[in-house]
Symmetry: C2
Subunit: 178 residues, 2 copies
DNA sequence: CCCTATCTATTCACACAGTGAATAGATCTG
DNA sequence: CAGATCTATTCACTGTGTGAATAGATAGGG
Protein backbone atom coordinates (compact mmCIF):
# COMPACT_ATOMS: atom_id res chain seq x y z
CA UNK A 1 0.00 0.00 0.00
CA UNK A 2 2.22 2.67 -1.36
CA UNK A 3 -0.38 5.45 -1.17
CA UNK A 4 -0.82 4.74 2.50
CA UNK A 5 2.90 5.05 3.09
CA UNK A 6 3.07 8.26 1.13
CA UNK A 7 0.30 9.71 3.31
CA UNK A 8 2.17 8.57 6.41
CA UNK A 9 5.27 10.29 5.05
CA UNK A 10 3.37 13.53 4.57
CA UNK A 11 1.86 13.26 8.06
CA UNK A 12 5.32 12.69 9.55
CA UNK A 13 5.94 16.38 8.88
CA UNK A 14 2.93 17.41 10.96
CA UNK A 15 -0.75 16.73 11.38
CA UNK A 16 -3.06 17.52 8.52
CA UNK A 17 -6.57 16.93 7.22
CA UNK A 18 -7.53 15.01 4.10
CA UNK A 19 -8.00 17.92 1.78
CA UNK A 20 -4.59 19.38 2.50
CA UNK A 21 -2.98 15.95 2.27
CA UNK A 22 -4.24 15.60 -1.27
CA UNK A 23 -2.80 18.95 -2.20
CA UNK A 24 0.47 18.29 -0.39
CA UNK A 25 0.76 15.04 -2.29
CA UNK A 26 0.15 16.56 -5.70
CA UNK A 27 2.60 19.28 -4.78
CA UNK A 28 5.41 17.06 -3.58
CA UNK A 29 4.92 14.34 -6.17
CA UNK A 30 4.31 16.43 -9.26
CA UNK A 31 5.33 13.61 -11.61
CA UNK A 32 2.86 11.19 -10.04
CA UNK A 33 -0.80 10.89 -10.85
CA UNK A 34 -2.85 13.32 -8.76
CA UNK A 35 -4.54 11.63 -5.84
CA UNK A 36 -8.33 11.56 -5.92
CA UNK A 37 -10.01 12.87 -2.77
CA UNK A 38 -11.98 9.70 -2.32
CA UNK A 39 -8.74 7.80 -2.29
CA UNK A 40 -7.26 10.01 0.40
CA UNK A 41 -10.15 9.60 2.81
CA UNK A 42 -10.43 5.87 2.15
CA UNK A 43 -6.70 5.46 2.79
CA UNK A 44 -6.89 7.53 5.97
CA UNK A 45 -9.68 5.29 7.22
CA UNK A 46 -7.60 2.18 6.54
CA UNK A 47 -4.58 3.73 8.21
CA UNK A 48 -6.76 4.58 11.18
CA UNK A 49 -8.08 1.03 11.37
CA UNK A 50 -4.50 -0.20 11.42
CA UNK A 51 -3.58 2.25 14.17
CA UNK A 52 -1.04 4.14 12.06
CA UNK A 53 -2.97 7.38 12.18
CA UNK A 54 -5.36 9.10 14.58
CA UNK A 55 -7.90 11.88 14.29
CA UNK A 56 -6.72 14.55 16.72
CA UNK A 57 -9.22 17.32 16.15
CA UNK A 58 -12.27 18.45 14.27
CA UNK A 59 -11.86 22.06 13.34
CA UNK A 60 -14.38 24.41 11.83
CA UNK A 61 -12.59 27.37 10.41
CA UNK A 62 -13.75 29.23 7.36
CA UNK A 63 -15.80 26.46 5.91
CA UNK A 64 -17.01 22.94 6.58
CA UNK A 65 -15.70 20.62 9.29
CA UNK A 66 -12.24 19.30 8.85
CA UNK A 67 -10.88 16.23 10.59
CA UNK A 68 -7.21 16.59 11.37
CA UNK A 69 -5.13 13.41 11.46
CA UNK A 70 -1.76 12.77 13.10
CA UNK A 71 0.65 9.90 12.67
CA UNK A 72 0.99 7.58 15.69
CA UNK A 73 4.11 5.93 17.12
CA UNK A 74 3.03 2.68 15.46
CA UNK A 75 2.59 4.58 12.23
CA UNK A 76 6.09 6.01 12.48
CA UNK A 77 7.50 2.53 13.07
CA UNK A 78 5.60 1.20 10.08
CA UNK A 79 6.83 4.07 7.96
CA UNK A 80 10.53 3.68 8.74
CA UNK A 81 10.12 -0.03 8.32
CA UNK A 82 8.72 0.49 4.84
CA UNK A 83 11.45 2.94 3.90
CA UNK A 84 14.16 0.59 5.06
CA UNK A 85 12.70 -2.44 3.36
CA UNK A 86 14.40 -3.11 0.07
CA UNK A 87 11.86 -3.68 -2.69
CA UNK A 88 12.31 -7.16 -4.08
CA UNK A 89 12.05 -6.76 -7.81
CA UNK A 90 10.20 -9.27 -9.98
CA UNK A 91 9.07 -12.22 -7.94
CA UNK A 92 6.93 -12.88 -10.97
CA UNK A 93 7.85 -11.02 -14.10
CA UNK A 94 4.81 -9.03 -15.14
CA UNK A 95 5.51 -8.13 -18.74
CA UNK A 96 2.55 -6.51 -20.46
CA UNK A 97 4.33 -6.43 -23.81
CA UNK A 98 4.95 -10.18 -23.70
CA UNK A 99 1.37 -10.77 -22.62
CA UNK A 100 0.04 -8.97 -25.63
CA UNK A 101 2.42 -10.67 -28.04
CA UNK A 102 1.48 -14.07 -26.67
CA UNK A 103 -2.23 -13.31 -26.92
CA UNK A 104 -1.71 -12.02 -30.47
CA UNK A 105 -0.02 -15.31 -31.35
CA UNK A 106 -2.90 -17.23 -29.78
CA UNK A 107 -5.43 -15.32 -31.83
CA UNK A 108 -3.66 -15.07 -35.16
CA UNK A 109 -0.19 -15.56 -36.58
CA UNK A 110 3.45 -14.52 -36.51
CA UNK A 111 3.11 -11.75 -39.10
CA UNK A 112 0.28 -10.10 -37.17
CA UNK A 113 2.14 -10.25 -33.87
CA UNK A 114 5.21 -8.81 -35.56
CA UNK A 115 3.22 -5.89 -36.93
CA UNK A 116 1.77 -5.10 -33.51
CA UNK A 117 5.22 -5.25 -31.93
CA UNK A 118 6.65 -2.96 -34.56
CA UNK A 119 3.92 -0.42 -34.06
CA UNK A 120 4.52 -0.57 -30.34
CA UNK A 121 8.22 -0.01 -30.95
CA UNK A 122 7.47 3.06 -33.04
CA UNK A 123 5.30 4.47 -30.28
CA UNK A 124 8.03 3.86 -27.72
CA UNK A 125 10.65 5.52 -29.89
CA UNK A 126 8.35 8.50 -30.17
CA UNK A 127 7.84 8.74 -26.42
CA UNK A 128 11.59 8.39 -25.98
CA UNK A 129 12.21 11.36 -28.24
CA UNK A 130 9.65 13.44 -26.33
CA UNK A 131 11.26 12.76 -22.95
CA UNK A 132 14.74 13.30 -24.32
CA UNK A 133 13.69 16.64 -25.74
CA UNK A 134 11.95 17.61 -22.49
CA UNK A 135 15.19 17.00 -20.64
CA UNK A 136 17.06 19.62 -22.68
CA UNK A 137 15.12 22.37 -20.88
CA UNK A 138 17.61 23.59 -18.24
CA UNK A 139 14.87 25.09 -16.06
CA UNK A 140 13.17 21.71 -15.60
CA UNK A 141 12.59 21.11 -11.87
CA UNK A 142 14.51 18.20 -10.39
CA UNK A 143 11.43 16.05 -9.88
CA UNK A 144 10.66 16.25 -13.56
CA UNK A 145 14.26 15.52 -14.49
CA UNK A 146 14.23 12.35 -12.42
CA UNK A 147 10.84 11.38 -13.83
CA UNK A 148 12.18 11.84 -17.36
CA UNK A 149 15.30 9.82 -16.51
CA UNK A 150 13.12 7.02 -15.23
CA UNK A 151 10.83 7.09 -18.24
CA UNK A 152 13.73 7.13 -20.69
CA UNK A 153 15.56 4.28 -18.98
CA UNK A 154 12.47 2.08 -18.92
CA UNK A 155 11.38 2.96 -22.43
CA UNK A 156 14.84 1.92 -23.52
CA UNK A 157 14.50 -1.32 -21.56
CA UNK A 158 11.20 -2.04 -23.31
CA UNK A 159 12.80 -1.27 -26.66
CA UNK A 160 15.64 -3.66 -25.97
CA UNK A 161 13.14 -6.32 -25.02
CA UNK A 162 11.11 -5.70 -28.16
CA UNK A 163 14.22 -6.14 -30.33
CA UNK A 164 14.95 -9.38 -28.61
CA UNK A 165 11.33 -10.47 -28.94
CA UNK A 166 11.09 -9.56 -32.63
CA UNK A 167 13.95 -11.94 -33.30
CA UNK A 168 12.12 -14.72 -31.54
CA UNK A 169 8.48 -14.24 -32.53
CA UNK A 170 8.66 -17.16 -34.91
CA UNK A 171 10.07 -19.44 -32.22
CA UNK A 172 7.47 -18.17 -29.74
CA UNK A 173 4.72 -18.84 -32.24
CA UNK A 174 5.86 -22.41 -32.60
CA UNK A 175 6.03 -22.89 -28.85
CA UNK A 176 2.46 -21.63 -28.62
CA UNK A 177 1.09 -23.64 -31.53
CA UNK A 178 2.08 -26.92 -29.92
CA UNK B 1 -8.32 -5.42 -17.56
CA UNK B 2 -5.44 -7.40 -18.85
CA UNK B 3 -6.55 -10.66 -17.21
CA UNK B 4 -9.88 -10.37 -18.99
CA UNK B 5 -8.14 -9.98 -22.34
CA UNK B 6 -5.88 -12.92 -21.65
CA UNK B 7 -8.93 -15.06 -20.93
CA UNK B 8 -10.54 -13.85 -24.14
CA UNK B 9 -7.36 -14.79 -25.96
CA UNK B 10 -7.46 -18.29 -24.53
CA UNK B 11 -11.15 -18.63 -25.39
CA UNK B 12 -10.45 -17.52 -28.97
CA UNK B 13 -8.87 -20.95 -29.48
CA UNK B 14 -12.08 -22.69 -28.46
CA UNK B 15 -14.67 -22.80 -25.72
CA UNK B 16 -13.55 -23.80 -22.26
CA UNK B 17 -14.65 -23.80 -18.64
CA UNK B 18 -13.08 -21.88 -15.80
CA UNK B 19 -10.97 -24.63 -14.36
CA UNK B 20 -9.29 -25.42 -17.65
CA UNK B 21 -8.82 -21.74 -18.41
CA UNK B 22 -6.80 -21.34 -15.24
CA UNK B 23 -4.60 -24.24 -16.20
CA UNK B 24 -4.27 -23.10 -19.79
CA UNK B 25 -3.20 -19.70 -18.53
CA UNK B 26 -0.56 -21.03 -16.17
CA UNK B 27 0.63 -23.26 -18.95
CA UNK B 28 0.87 -20.65 -21.65
CA UNK B 29 2.13 -17.87 -19.41
CA UNK B 30 4.65 -19.76 -17.29
CA UNK B 31 6.55 -16.59 -16.39
CA UNK B 32 3.43 -14.86 -15.10
CA UNK B 33 1.92 -15.22 -11.69
CA UNK B 34 -0.46 -18.17 -11.58
CA UNK B 35 -4.09 -17.13 -11.80
CA UNK B 36 -6.21 -17.82 -8.75
CA UNK B 37 -9.44 -19.72 -9.46
CA UNK B 38 -11.50 -17.04 -7.82
CA UNK B 39 -10.02 -14.53 -10.19
CA UNK B 40 -10.91 -16.63 -13.23
CA UNK B 41 -14.57 -17.01 -12.34
CA UNK B 42 -14.91 -13.39 -11.31
CA UNK B 43 -13.36 -12.27 -14.59
CA UNK B 44 -15.59 -14.59 -16.58
CA UNK B 45 -18.61 -13.07 -14.87
CA UNK B 46 -17.43 -9.57 -15.75
CA UNK B 47 -16.76 -10.62 -19.35
CA UNK B 48 -20.22 -12.14 -19.50
CA UNK B 49 -21.81 -8.97 -18.16
CA UNK B 50 -20.02 -7.04 -20.90
CA UNK B 51 -21.20 -9.49 -23.53
CA UNK B 52 -17.71 -10.64 -24.50
CA UNK B 53 -18.33 -14.19 -23.39
CA UNK B 54 -21.29 -16.54 -23.13
CA UNK B 55 -22.01 -19.76 -21.25
CA UNK B 56 -22.75 -22.31 -23.96
CA UNK B 57 -23.23 -25.48 -21.95
CA UNK B 58 -23.28 -27.03 -18.53
CA UNK B 59 -21.61 -30.41 -18.74
CA UNK B 60 -21.43 -33.08 -16.12
CA UNK B 61 -18.71 -35.49 -17.08
CA UNK B 62 -16.60 -37.34 -14.55
CA UNK B 63 -17.13 -34.89 -11.72
CA UNK B 64 -19.02 -31.78 -10.73
CA UNK B 65 -20.87 -29.47 -13.11
CA UNK B 66 -18.78 -27.43 -15.44
CA UNK B 67 -19.95 -24.29 -17.18
CA UNK B 68 -18.39 -23.95 -20.60
CA UNK B 69 -17.86 -20.44 -21.93
CA UNK B 70 -17.34 -19.28 -25.50
CA UNK B 71 -16.16 -15.96 -26.83
CA UNK B 72 -18.80 -13.91 -28.66
CA UNK B 73 -18.45 -11.80 -31.79
CA UNK B 74 -18.35 -8.70 -29.60
CA UNK B 75 -15.68 -10.36 -27.52
CA UNK B 76 -13.60 -11.09 -30.61
CA UNK B 77 -13.92 -7.48 -31.70
CA UNK B 78 -12.88 -6.28 -28.26
CA UNK B 79 -9.94 -8.67 -28.28
CA UNK B 80 -8.50 -7.64 -31.64
CA UNK B 81 -9.10 -4.06 -30.67
CA UNK B 82 -7.03 -4.55 -27.53
CA UNK B 83 -4.26 -6.33 -29.40
CA UNK B 84 -4.06 -3.61 -32.01
CA UNK B 85 -4.12 -0.78 -29.52
CA UNK B 86 -0.64 0.49 -28.86
CA UNK B 87 0.00 0.79 -25.14
CA UNK B 88 0.69 4.43 -24.35
CA UNK B 89 3.62 4.31 -21.99
CA UNK B 90 3.79 6.61 -18.96
CA UNK B 91 0.93 9.06 -19.02
CA UNK B 92 1.98 9.57 -15.44
CA UNK B 93 5.36 8.26 -14.46
CA UNK B 94 4.82 5.81 -11.62
CA UNK B 95 8.26 5.45 -10.10
CA UNK B 96 8.24 3.47 -6.86
CA UNK B 97 11.94 4.07 -6.28
CA UNK B 98 11.48 7.83 -6.50
CA UNK B 99 8.44 7.63 -4.25
CA UNK B 100 10.41 5.92 -1.54
CA UNK B 101 13.36 8.28 -1.85
CA UNK B 102 11.07 11.29 -1.62
CA UNK B 103 9.28 9.88 1.41
CA UNK B 104 12.65 9.08 3.01
CA UNK B 105 13.68 12.70 2.48
CA UNK B 106 10.40 13.90 3.99
CA UNK B 107 10.94 11.77 7.07
CA UNK B 108 14.66 12.18 7.62
CA UNK B 109 17.71 13.45 5.76
CA UNK B 110 19.94 13.08 2.74
CA UNK B 111 22.34 10.59 4.32
CA UNK B 112 19.51 8.25 5.25
CA UNK B 113 17.92 8.41 1.82
CA UNK B 114 21.32 7.74 0.26
CA UNK B 115 21.83 4.66 2.40
CA UNK B 116 18.42 3.27 1.43
CA UNK B 117 19.11 3.88 -2.24
CA UNK B 118 22.47 2.17 -2.02
CA UNK B 119 20.99 -0.88 -0.38
CA UNK B 120 18.34 -0.99 -3.07
CA UNK B 121 21.06 -0.79 -5.67
CA UNK B 122 22.89 -3.72 -4.12
CA UNK B 123 19.70 -5.79 -4.18
CA UNK B 124 19.10 -4.92 -7.83
CA UNK B 125 22.66 -5.87 -8.77
CA UNK B 126 22.13 -9.18 -7.06
CA UNK B 127 18.88 -9.87 -8.92
CA UNK B 128 20.62 -8.86 -12.13
CA UNK B 129 23.33 -11.44 -11.55
CA UNK B 130 20.73 -14.13 -10.87
CA UNK B 131 18.83 -13.50 -14.10
CA UNK B 132 22.04 -13.25 -16.11
CA UNK B 133 23.20 -16.57 -14.77
CA UNK B 134 19.78 -18.15 -15.40
CA UNK B 135 20.07 -17.13 -19.04
CA UNK B 136 23.28 -19.14 -19.54
CA UNK B 137 21.24 -22.35 -19.36
CA UNK B 138 20.81 -23.31 -23.04
CA UNK B 139 17.77 -25.50 -22.33
CA UNK B 140 15.78 -22.56 -20.94
CA UNK B 141 12.38 -22.43 -22.67
CA UNK B 142 11.76 -19.37 -24.79
CA UNK B 143 9.17 -17.90 -22.46
CA UNK B 144 11.68 -17.91 -19.65
CA UNK B 145 14.38 -16.42 -21.87
CA UNK B 146 12.11 -13.52 -22.76
CA UNK B 147 11.09 -13.09 -19.13
CA UNK B 148 14.75 -12.96 -18.13
CA UNK B 149 15.50 -10.48 -20.90
CA UNK B 150 12.70 -8.26 -19.67
CA UNK B 151 13.79 -8.48 -16.06
CA UNK B 152 17.41 -7.74 -16.90
CA UNK B 153 16.58 -4.77 -19.10
CA UNK B 154 14.33 -3.21 -16.47
CA UNK B 155 16.66 -3.93 -13.59
CA UNK B 156 19.33 -2.17 -15.59
CA UNK B 157 16.97 0.75 -16.18
CA UNK B 158 16.32 1.00 -12.46
CA UNK B 159 20.05 0.86 -11.78
CA UNK B 160 20.68 3.66 -14.24
CA UNK B 161 17.99 5.72 -12.58
CA UNK B 162 19.44 5.04 -9.14
CA UNK B 163 22.88 6.26 -10.27
CA UNK B 164 21.29 9.41 -11.59
CA UNK B 165 19.26 9.82 -8.40
CA UNK B 166 22.23 9.26 -6.10
CA UNK B 167 23.96 12.19 -7.75
CA UNK B 168 20.94 14.38 -7.10
CA UNK B 169 19.74 13.34 -3.66
CA UNK B 170 21.17 16.48 -2.12
CA UNK B 171 19.39 18.70 -4.63
CA UNK B 172 16.18 16.74 -4.18
CA UNK B 173 16.46 17.11 -0.42
CA UNK B 174 16.71 20.86 -0.81
CA UNK B 175 13.74 20.99 -3.15
CA UNK B 176 11.73 19.07 -0.56
CA UNK B 177 12.86 21.09 2.44
CA UNK B 178 11.51 24.31 0.97
C1' DC C 1 -28.48 43.00 -1.77
C1' DC C 2 -28.82 38.70 -3.42
C1' DC C 3 -27.40 35.33 -6.85
C1' DT C 4 -24.09 32.62 -8.68
C1' DA C 5 -19.62 30.88 -8.91
C1' DT C 6 -15.92 29.11 -6.56
C1' DC C 7 -13.30 27.24 -2.84
C1' DT C 8 -13.09 24.12 1.03
C1' DA C 9 -13.91 19.46 2.91
C1' DT C 10 -15.96 15.18 3.08
C1' DT C 11 -18.95 11.30 1.91
C1' DC C 12 -21.18 7.84 -0.94
C1' DA C 13 -22.16 4.33 -4.16
C1' DC C 14 -19.87 1.69 -7.16
C1' DA C 15 -16.43 -1.10 -9.86
C1' DC C 16 -12.48 -3.82 -10.45
C1' DA C 17 -8.85 -6.92 -8.81
C1' DG C 18 -7.32 -10.38 -6.04
C1' DT C 19 -6.97 -13.87 -1.89
C1' DG C 20 -7.95 -17.95 0.82
C1' DA C 21 -11.02 -21.02 2.41
C1' DA C 22 -15.18 -23.71 1.83
C1' DT C 23 -18.05 -26.85 -0.68
C1' DA C 24 -19.01 -30.89 -3.15
C1' DG C 25 -19.06 -34.62 -6.44
C1' DA C 26 -16.02 -38.31 -8.37
C1' DT C 27 -12.29 -41.42 -8.52
C1' DC C 28 -8.34 -43.90 -6.99
C1' DT C 29 -5.66 -46.61 -3.67
C1' DG C 30 -4.40 -49.41 -0.01
C1' DC D 1 -14.75 -48.93 2.40
C1' DA D 2 -12.04 -44.95 4.40
C1' DG D 3 -9.29 -41.43 3.27
C1' DA D 4 -6.71 -38.91 -0.14
C1' DT D 5 -6.78 -36.56 -4.32
C1' DC D 6 -8.61 -34.52 -8.47
C1' DT D 7 -12.13 -31.69 -10.65
C1' DA D 8 -14.98 -27.48 -10.58
C1' DT D 9 -17.07 -23.71 -8.58
C1' DT D 10 -18.56 -20.45 -5.03
C1' DC D 11 -18.17 -17.31 -1.12
C1' DA D 12 -16.85 -13.80 1.99
C1' DC D 13 -13.60 -10.44 2.33
C1' DT D 14 -9.90 -6.86 1.52
C1' DG D 15 -7.77 -3.33 -0.97
C1' DT D 16 -7.63 0.26 -4.43
C1' DG D 17 -9.58 3.66 -7.10
C1' DT D 18 -13.31 6.66 -9.58
C1' DG D 19 -16.90 10.09 -10.18
C1' DA D 20 -20.63 12.29 -8.50
C1' DA D 21 -23.07 14.26 -4.68
C1' DT D 22 -23.36 17.05 -0.64
C1' DA D 23 -22.78 21.10 1.93
C1' DG D 24 -20.92 25.13 4.29
C1' DA D 25 -18.54 29.65 3.39
C1' DT D 26 -17.20 33.58 0.87
C1' DA D 27 -16.28 36.77 -2.91
C1' DG D 28 -17.62 39.31 -6.93
C1' DG D 29 -20.99 41.24 -10.13
C1' DG D 30 -25.44 42.95 -11.86
Amino acid sequence: MSTGHVLLGLLSRGQQHGYDLKRAHDDRFPAAKPMAYGQVYASLERLHRQGFVEPVAVQRVDGPDRTVYAITATGRAELTDWIETVETPFVHVANPLATKVTVALLVTDTAYATTCLERQRASHLDAMRRYTRAKTDPSLPIHEVLAADYAIAHLDADLQWMESALQRVAALGEAIAT
